[in-house]
Amino acid sequence: MADVHVLGIRHHGPGSAHSIAEALEIIRPDLVLVEGPPELDEIIGLVSDPEMAPPVAGLIYATDEPRIASFYPMAEFSPEWVAIRWALSNRSLVRAIDLPAAHAFALRMDSEPAASSAAEDDCGPEPGDAGPPAQLQDPYRPDAIGMLASAAGYSDAERWWEDAIEHRHGSPLDRFAAIGEAMSEIRAVDDRPHNHPDVVENTRREAAMRRLIRAAMREGHEGIVVVCGAYHVPALVPAGFPPASVDNKILSGLPKTKAAVTWVPWTSDRLSRESGYGAGIAAPGWYQHLFAHRMAQNPGNDLSSTWLVRVAHALRREDLDASTASVVEASRMAAALASVRGRPSPGLAELDDAIQTVLCDGSPLPLAFVHRELTVGHGMGNVPDTVPTVPLAADLAASQRRLRLKTSAAEDTLVLDLRKPNHLARSVLLHRLGLLGVEWGRPDRAGRTTGTFKEVWALQWKPDLAIAVVEASRYGTTVASAAATRVSEQARDAGSLSELSELLAMCLLADLPDGVGAVVSVLAERTALQHDVPALLETISPLARTCRYGNVRGVDITEVRKILDATVVRVCVGLPTACAGLDDEAAAAMRRAVDTAQDGLTLLPGLPMDDWHQALAAVAGSDRMHGAVAGRATRLLLDAGLVDRDDVAARLSRRLSIASPAPEAAAWLDGLLSGDAMLLIHDRRILQIVDDWVDGVHSDVFDDVLPLLRRTFSSFSRPERREIGEQVSRPDKDVEMEELIDMDLAAAGPAILTMARYIGWEAIA
């Protein structure tokens, strides 16, 4: 009969890892069983590969649907990692025991049929693809030791392990026995009903573990060590096993799917809880320090002092003062705090407080830096080249097959008609890959067409794109989810509002509703903090376009609309102040911004145009505003029919008086007149005003401002100028004549009606 030791650990607990290392040296088993799906057996041998560097994660995904996946991250201080390394270097066998992922995935697919059907049809919007795709679906792994620690008043479970377990029990085997007893107590008070989903899942998993342990015992090993989460210990001690038939009954008839397995590089940052990994740990860097400290077994080195010295070094690298004297003070402070809080020795919480108070002058900012640099750390793992392929590549290959897109080393031209569903799906895929940095297709000029449904791509597959796919795989397991995650990261890092608007447009093209959501939330924050009115003005147009056309692509635009409304209001409030005291350059920029905002505002109904016009009126009405902006504002109001002809004439003459400086006057005139020449030609009001002024002005003044007029009109092309000239040279009466032109309304009726329908004037029809 084999001698089975069940060692309960805390996942990612350096204390547990250290005890495991000691226990394995004492027991020296010839078989080590580690908690984890048996699929991991395939790749478990790679752990001893010299190129393998933690943190890494075992990644298991459903072959048919890579979106369904689980990560098993391991760091150097993970007890599982320590156990696997020990077994491989001591020529013992090592295996993973748990419910096979093949069953777990199939069960998960059954429980979310809606999401999986959406994933089969990659063209449509995918509600299930939001956020971190795989981590949230990790198996139920309760941190029972963490619960015990917090019940004992510890914020740091590792300190509890050291104080309550290691200091009290000399032998590592005694420690694990004590843990087992504590867990029996915890499980005895668990009053969740039998049909609670977590309980059901746990029962299945423990039945599967027991089945694998029974099989291992039958193989005739001398010593077997089971390394599992502490919570499972009472269920896995062979003496307490239920009859095998009970477990077989639980496990019979479970659905099954195909699963593939690989190692992927992991980062300290993703180990930490902040990046959304459920079973994660808050301070991987600190745990690494604890683990290294324990393994070094150097009693002369004080744990908190060595940590504080590292902190001081990190601060000095950033040119922040951290003298040795302060480190000594911080160390004393941490000890004093621990005694005020009634703890036997300072933990991370006490050290953090001491660092902030003594080394950082009470400021939380350097502490946040320390947290980023040391407490979490920048460790990045590495996996050997021999590991199997990643799910993103599998998903890409599947999409390529489905869309009949072949990869080829030669450059191909692909012409897409976006009205066809398959072509649209191809375009979406290429846009998403572009966002992921996988530059397979390059958008090409669509030639001489004004239609928006034609897209031309130049396709060329290069070998290094495979690497790009692997790199992009850290964003997600499918092209869509990875692209959405990438976009949200880019949005967070975007420097300017225009970059964000650009991203928003890309999200629409790549059909990423989740990406749109992420960009929009960043946009909301940035626009709210933006004090610069021109920048705000420039966001109006892309936002309005998103609202106008995002609808067509099924994007939820209510949030965008909210930002747009708020932005417009804020622009209207700030515009008059922002336009005062501008120099030429700033005024030109402001004029452009006002123009784009006007374009955007006309796209959508229901915007507060009255406020906008009031703001424009305030700009136009003041003589102190820079000419370029004031002139433009006057023109926009004139177009909207909100300002009198006489008013404009009076302003024109005021602005073009001798007293006002020539460049100012020219800028004003330019602001008033520039734009599409056709408007000037057909809407004679403006020309008429200028013409009247020329008529009435004194000849000396006219001589002075003539160059200004010439300069303004020179921006039009020669035929346009000729046309304008002809218009002006016609007698005045023509204006009225044109309006009274003899038309056969009855004959024109149907044409007008159709036209009206096109531009949406239902009321007329």
Binding site: D321, S323, A325, S326, E329, R332, M333, A336, L337, S339, V340, R341, G342, D353, T357, V358, C360, D361, G362, S363, P364, A524, E525, A528, L529, H531, A566, V569, R570, V573, G574, T577
Partner: protein, 368 residues
């Protein structure tokens, strides 16, 4: 100054007098080790500040509503021999906390140096009784010890208020006191050595203008604790309500503050503006240059109370608080006005139940 007496009709009694019973009760149950010449153990001091119920059934009222962590850090700092610097914007209970800490630890909160631009070195060290100086020449009898020197001799805590307002050269005379724990008296060729239990609690305002920043030599001798503005809306409403009520009683204002809704609204406005995000975390807004601390919410409410009592119907409403609210927010007439208008138009206007406040604020603007 040595014969401080308490009279029942003083406007404001010292902490150690108003809470004498609590301090005695704590001292009787406190069996934990006390640092030299501390009246209470660090545990009991934290208990006194944060409040709670003792084993013998005595209720301790909370003196500081806020993070337990910060109070622990402050007490632990004083238990090591490092001086404590409490930093924070105005109205974050810095002085309040320092007074209660010294009352609990040394049993007296009266050793205070009030920092001003004109604080002389004598206030930190010692002065002379010139009549005796002329009559007897330099002697201990002719010296007038300052609060710091007396604290050193007694082994107790001394408070320095508004440390950064004190001129830099005067500040620096603290360096020797803090690092060597001695105060040299060159005139008598002697020195005063601090007895165990001596320590300094300084307060400073980190958002003030025209202050003298601490030299790094001095700064290094302080453990710095930054006191934040209250965490939650409810907590801040509670603080404002308690303080406004007690101020209203002191000023004998007849107005009615029965409904907390007006306080809640003012506190919400202040919190939203200073945090730059609305309470529901959905909209980001700009922050004005004003601090908008709890203390300002208290003064806005007190002002509203007084308006309602003397000119209104006796109940505090939107129009009573609007004027002082706008005044509190708009400190810079150009920038802050834009911020306030944006807030008014994008946030206040969209809250149907805030219609009266919106109207009151708009009315103010048009009448200006």
């Amino acid at each position: 100054m040595t014969d401080i007496q308490t009279f029942p009709d003083v406007v404001r009694a010292h902490a150690e007098h108003s809470y004498a019973e609590e301090l005695t009760a704590l001292a009787t149950v406190d069996d934990r080790p006390r640092p030299p010449s501390w009246r209470l153990s660090p545990w009991a001091v934290t208990k006194y500040i944060l409040g709670g119920t003792l084993a013998n059934g005595v209720d301790i009222t909370p003196k500081y509503l806020g993070s337990e962590r910060l109070v622990e850090i402050a007490v632990a700092s004083l238990a090591t021999d490092r001086a404590l610097l409490l930093l924070g914007v105005p109205g974050t209970a810095k002085t309040w906390l320092s007074e209660h800490l010294s009352a609990a630890i040394s049993g007296s909160s009266t050793l205070v140096v009030q920092g001003t631009a004109g604080t002389p070195e004598e206030a930190l060290r010692y002065g002379w009784n010139y009549a005796r100086l002329l009559a007897e020449g330099p002697s201990r009898g002719a010296m007038v010890p300052g609060p710091v020197m007396r604290a050193m001799e007694a082994g107790s805590l001394v408070r320095v208020e508004e440390l950064t307002r004190i001129p830099s050269d005067v500040q620096d005379s603290l360096i020797t006191i803090l690092s060597e724990k001695t105060l040299p008296i060159p005139e008598l060729n002697t020195e005063v050595q601090a007895r165990k239990g001596f320590n300094v609690i300084a307060t400073a305002n980190n958002r003030d203008k025209g202050v003298n920043d601490l030299s790094s030599a001095l700064r290094r001798r302080f453990n710095t604790v930054v006191l934040p503005l209250p965490d939650s809306l409810d907590q801040e409403v509670e603080i404002v309500a308690t303080r406004v009520r007690s101020l209203g009683e002191a000023l004998e204002l007849p107005a009615d503050l029965a409904a907390l809704s007006e306080i809640r609204r003012v506190v919400t406005v202040m919190r939203e503006l200073r945090s730059g995000v609305t309470a529901d975390q959905r909209t980001t807004i700009k922050s004005p240059s004003a601090t908008l601390s709890t203390a300002e919410a208290i003064s806005v409410m007190t002002n509203g109370l007084s308006l309602a009592a003397h000119f209104g119907d006796g109940t505090v409403g939107a129009e009573d608080v609007a004027a002082s609210l706008v005044g509190a927010v708009i400190k810079d007439p150009v920038q802050d006005r834009v911020v306030w208008q944006e807030y008014l138009e994008t946030v206040v206007r969209n809250r149907p139940e805030w219609k009266d406040l919106y109207r009151a604020c708009r009315d103010l603007e048009t009448s200006n």
